[in-house]
Symmetry: C2
Subunit: 497 residues, 2 copies
């Protein structure tokens, strides 16, 4: 049992990174099955102290208990999912092209697989004290890949972060991992964070947070002599298109579902539906009226920390001050200290297209309905939007038949396209893409949620003309783990003979 | 039959990119099998005019006929390899997680696959007028992915580039592809190239060339409002480590093979072995003596163009002027106009470590032997090197047993690790990684040669809760093309039921 948070690793960034590099050298050689055991052990150690973690996190983040217990379950589930991925083993993308000595010129034997890149810097996110923080998806996927990790804990939940780190340390000891496989520091993003990203031993960066924060990290990397990949999940307003037939048939239930999604977790989700698009008409008016009634019933709740709260208050005030905007409705109760007031507003498509501010993210329980004149304007509004994590179609079969061009446009906009579900709720699974075109993320080619998140921390290496004994296990002739490989362009789990 | 080169597309960069975007909209919807037919048609059209292409290219690049015919075969082979990849279809990485409505909360159906990113800018390379130029690997892989392509032809072989483009245009007509699926411009990299990379409709960039050129393109992208991926293959000296037992047993044949590799194609290959590392001793001295004898027999040949020739002449002069360097030998004939003089030189490990200039690439028939004091210094020299495309081990079983730490270090250095083969000769196959840590390339996670090169032009998209009829073919329940998919974490070609 863990008695006290280990807290923060001390020492300079240079010392931390030297430790991380030396741990990487040892950790990358540990077998995938043992790495899986380490991930499972972290999950178990976190679960052992979940009650203490929830007490701390509730104090630090103002998130309700049920959500925090749920998030811990998600976090340990994520760690176990990566453990299962390691045990199965095929994720390394082993590809083998055997030799042909008779060919002119002779064809060499070439085999490739993914290998870990080196020490990874993970920034804890404020809005998910567990699932996107210290032992969250970035750390779990980097450890699965075979990388050592240095975590910059988020100051808004420093105690929680330190206690989660204590669980990781316990798992390191229990499973005999190299001492510095994971390290944890607090401190400022602009100083400590920058130093970490710019240290020559850092190989990649994982971040979930604001556009400003993500852009800063991208800049730090670009200033390096050797730039490194920065995976920043930054900003998204997750457009929801309300198609006419769907509005007509399901308007009231859509309004209720969307108000619930907009205000879930005080709107502090990356996939919060921040913008709703519809075509003017009676059905949209009826939908708006239900939204007004539903938002009135919501209750303001405390936001994560004073920084987010003041950003929200400022963001709402700025948004409401834009020409053409009118409020549809807001919570019937006024907001107390640190509380975010749920608000929905609307603007015409004409006004939206004239003012880029309407497409800015207001992080919190706010959403903007854009009333488009017609289909042409709906298309113009969609074209006006930047890259997104998600986009949703609320559409019937009839809508789908009639609005193929709109739907195609939506598919170019985001990493996840959703039909008749709300965008909040990001399933942790192999098929998930939690990513999307810039500025939703810094790199649309990767996801930060689901098993494919491991692909952020690896690069492919070819081995040419190696003898079997020198090859990594995944590339050996007899395929000891029975992983799926591509051998001479054929998918197979068979051994080579 | 094509009678005249179509030459260059005219019009502003803005017009070209508008055409490219509109072509992308149509081309991405064309079935993979039809795209495969298009690639095969390009290959056939190129082969039809291969004699004319060789005459032009010989004139423009000074490369010998046999090499040019070989390169055309490589180019058409590459196009057919991508066609085969499209017909097989599994490359889209289809992943399906089916729904579980009984779970709390209900688990949605989520399916993902790779989709093309948009118009791609391809820069022709000077050193491969066919295989890395107009219809080379970048173009072939981007077209395979479903992207439209705008080619910036290399001015050093503008006529050849234009004639290859004529073959592509013929294939566009023959197979009924959208008119602007491929476009071709000449002009300067610093003006036209920059404009292309910075146009808002450009989605990604492929480049093979100098470090300076690649860095410039990376900078152009970073200046964009929305940065785009730049895949630049830039600079590599491809370290070859000559282990003691191998030197002792095979020194003479190694020296001959390496001199042949160093001078192949006047040393104008990205994988030219520009640096050789060995430990001081009689075997290394004997090896050096054979090198001196072998290089003496080589004949200076014309380099690709005057720019490369003057860079080589300047680079050699600068390198030979460095303190501590001594010449091992050079061609017995003096170099004529535009010819590159083959030279090998040596330096002690001590001097190498004192002067970063020794690790710079001299593009041409030059290589530098670093004589290390002992194993510790060999390790120090390897640690001193930047990221590479390849690194080679010339090693016996005994060397491999004794130098595990050196070999491990080499594996962290490059995209391809070669045992007892020369690094020149890049096999076009699924297992090839022609890439490597910066500054060898801008992005070590990808390859520019082999079928995986297609992965540079795509991003994953998830479809949540889509009905079967709305899903792309690769994600439909009945798996009409029978591709390999991951369904609920199991690899399978089976349909869903």
């Amino acid at each position: 049992m863990i008695e006290e948070p280990v807290g923060e690793d001390t020492g300079t960034v240079d010392q931390l990174m030297k430790n991380a590099l030396s741990a990487f050298g040892a950790y990358k050689k540990i077998s995938p099955v043992k790495r899986a055991g380490f991930l499972e052990s972290i999950a178990a150690e976190i679960e052992k102290i979940k009650d203490r973690l929830v007490i701390l996190a509730k104090e630090e983040t103002h998130l309700p208990e049920a959500r925090l217990y749920g998030e811990i379950a998600r976090t340990s589930g994520q760690l176990r999912l990566f453990a299962a991925l390691l045990k199965e083993g095929s994720w390394v993308e082993a590809v083998i092209d055997t030799s042909d000595p008779q060919r002119t010129p002779p064809k060499p034997d070439i085999r490739k697989m993914l290998v870990p890149v080196g020490p990874v810097i993970v920034f804890g996110a404020s809005n998910f004290p567990f699932a996107f923080s210290t032992a969250g998806g970035d750390t779990a996927s980097a450890l699965a890949a075979g990388c050592s990790v240095v975590i910059k804990g988020h100051s808004a939940h420093a105690q929680t972060s330190s206690l989660v780190y204590a669980a990781i340390r316990a798992a390191i000891d229990l499973t005999g991992m190299p001492a510095y496989t994971v390290q944890h520091v607090l401190g400022s993003g602009a100083t400590t964070g920058k130093e970490l990203v710019q240290h020559p031993f850092s190989s990649a960066v994982g971040f979930t947070g604001s556009f400003t924060g993500g852009r800063a990290l991208m800049g730090y990397s670009n200033q390096r002599e050797i730039p490194i990949p920065v995976f920043a999940e930054m900003s998204s307003i997750n457009p929801v298109v309300l198609f006419p037939d769907s509005l007509e048939k399901n308007g009231a239930s859509l309004a209720s579902a969307l108000i619930a999604s907009i205000t879930l977790g005080v709107g502090q989700f990356c996939t919060n539906p921040g913008i709703l698009l519809g075509i003017k008409g009676d059905a949209l008016t009826a939908f708006t009226n239900v939204m007004a009634r539903e938002i009135q019933k919501t209750i303001p709740q405390k936001m994560l920390h004073s920084g987010i709260h003041s950003s929200y208050t400022k963001g709402i005030a700025e948004m409401l001050g834009q020409k053409g905007l009118s409020v549809i409705g807001q919570s019937g109760e006024s907001a107390g200290s640190l509380e975010g007031l749920p608000v929905v507003a609307k603007v015409s498509g004409n006004d939206f297209l004239k003012n880029d501010h309407f497409a800015e993210e207001v992080f919190g329980p706010f959403s903007l309905l854009v009333e488009c004149q017609d289909k042409a304007q709906l298309i113009a509004v969609l074209r006006h939007l930047k890259g997104q994590l998600t986009t949703t179609l609320m559409a019937t079969e009839k809508d789908i038949r009639e609005f193929g061009d709109v739907i195609e446009l939506q598919q170019g906009l985001a990493g996840r396209i959703i039909l008749n579900n709300v965008p909040t709720g990001v399933e942790v699974c192999a098929a998930m893409v939690h990513g999307g075109p810039y500025p939703a993320t810094s790199d649309a080619r990767f996801t930060s949620v689901g098993t494919s998140a491991v692909k952020r921390w690896v690069r492919p290496v070819s081995f040419q003309n190696f003898s079997d004994s020198m090859l990594p296990e995944a590339l050996k002739n007899d395929n000891p783990s029975g992983i799926m490989r591509i051998v001479n362009n054929i998918h197979t789990r068979a051994a080579l003979h």
